[in-house]
């Protein structure tokens, strides 16, 4: 009995001890550089690790708050600790002091907009990574209802805008569609500033929920707004922009859409932690449509 009782927690504790001797979990390990941005509950700084000399992003969460640790911080950290993926930002360390909690992330030097703007003259094979999981939830059995005040307005699906609280993963697929469009043409698809305006913008493209426009006319509208998009891309986009949440394409089915066929079958076998650029033949290239050859423009659209 005593052996079971003592060994495991001790070894875990001693492992943590040795991590702290190296310098993990201590603020002295990181040098704060420029301020990158400020949110409602956190300030983000560029920083440098004295252990590795690597750049890091320091998300400093103030704890003077009378409610203790913000729920966004608890959710973000506990979820990120479970996620290991080439396209998800890595959480390196957590530093806790009397007045603040600092999450140490790998440093990403551009946001998606800057990344898309630069991709024409980029030769490096950088991955796009997702960050900021403050409002994320673990996936579970769909029995619960949630808040309908979720998701940045521009990417919030019509069912949630109209008050639905019974959503599941389809809630995000609408936003995937909006961002897919935005990546292609450089401006947001439905940039409303109020819930009503957001719904109007959506209705203008898709028709009213009771009398939705036929797919062909939706496709025409989308094509006129994003002439660079290939027909297959428009078809994928309409799969994301379905009024009914259940009708929206799932992430895994979306990846099997004909639009991605040119990437070859290997991408579907890629382990989570492997970069898409580890598949032979996949690389970033400047958009050929800019140089007026319309062939094969899909590949460049991807990243």
């Amino acid at each position: 009995m005593r052996i079971i009782d003592e060994q495991k927690p001790l070894s875990r504790a001693s492992r943590r001890q040795s991590m702290s001797e190296i310098g993990f979990g201590r603020m002295e390990t990181y040098t704060k550089l420029d301020k990158l941005g400020q949110g409602t509950y956190a300030t983000v700084f560029k920083g440098k690790s004295r252990l590795t000399d690597n750049l890091v992003a320091l998300k400093e969460i103030r704890l003077e708050h009378e409610e203790g640790a913000p729920c966004t911080a608890i959710r973000e950290v506990s979820l990120l600790k479970e996620l290991r993926h080439a396209n998800i930002v890595t959480l390196h360390d957590i530093v806790h002091t009397e007045r603040s909690l600092t999450l140490v992330f790998e440093y990403l030097d551009k946001d998606l907009k800057q990344y898309m703007d630069d991709r024409g003259n980029m030769l490096s094979m950088n991955n796009v990574k997702l960050a900021d999981f403050g409002l994320a939830r673990a996936k579970s059995v769909p029995t619960k209802t949630y808040s309908n005040e979720v998701v940045t307005l521009w990417y919030r699906p019509p069912d949630v805008l109209l008050g639905s609280t019974e959503y599941s993963t389809q809630i995000d697929m609408w936003g995937v569609g909006c961002i897919f469009f935005e990546m292609a043409c450089g401006r947001p698809l439905f940039p409303g500033s109020t819930v009503d305006e957001e719904l109007c913008l959506i209705f203008r493209v898709l028709g009213c929920p009771e009398t939705p426009l036929p797919v062909a006319s939706v496709s025409d509208t989308l094509l006129s707004r994003a002439p660079r998009l290939h027909q297959d891309a428009i078809s994928l986009l309409t799969c994301f922009l379905a009024y009914e949440a259940k009708a929206r394409v799932s992430a895994s089915d979306g990846m099997r859409h004909i639009y991605f066929k040119s990437l070859g079958p290997e991408v579907h076998l890629l382990p989570d932690v492997a970069s898409i650029f580890s598949v032979p033949g996949i690389q970033l290239s400047p958009d050929p449509s800019i140089s007026k050859s319309s062939k094969n423009r899909r590949l460049s659209m991807l990243l």
Binding site: M1, E67, V77, S78, T169
Partner: protein, 162 residues
Amino acid sequence: WTDEVVLWNHFCNKDIEDETKRDPVLFLRHPNLQPRMRAVLLEWIIEVCDVYKLHRETYYLAMDYLDRYLGLTRNVPKVQLQLIGISCLLIASKVEEIYPPKVSEFAYVTDGACSEDDIIKMELIIVKTLNWKCTVITANSWLCIYIQLCYLGNARNNMELA
């Protein structure tokens, strides 16, 4: 909405994860505590959940945090148990609820036993001890899965009969 095999495997894998396992001989680590005290504490927590209309999942999360915290510490004094319990419930509410009750509301139900300050300090001690592993599969989430499987099984049987 999701692949059933993927979800099932995810549930099973999380269940065998080392860091979220609970200690079956928990009380050997805490000579000052008796299993009865844990039972009393949990009963009180469920009452608090009732008062603030918290989800059943929130209660099970709090229980998981409590047991894991006790499994990672030693010699917890009897007088600290309520503080640990209410702080676990605060963390669980922040993870699960849309509108978690305020810290002051949690302090209020302890009838003076725990101050807001105590709870906020204990909250951080607990999340750090749990190494921030706060998304776990509870008995309640397994139950939800079983109920759905049961329902699907019945639906299939009925279709076969018809």
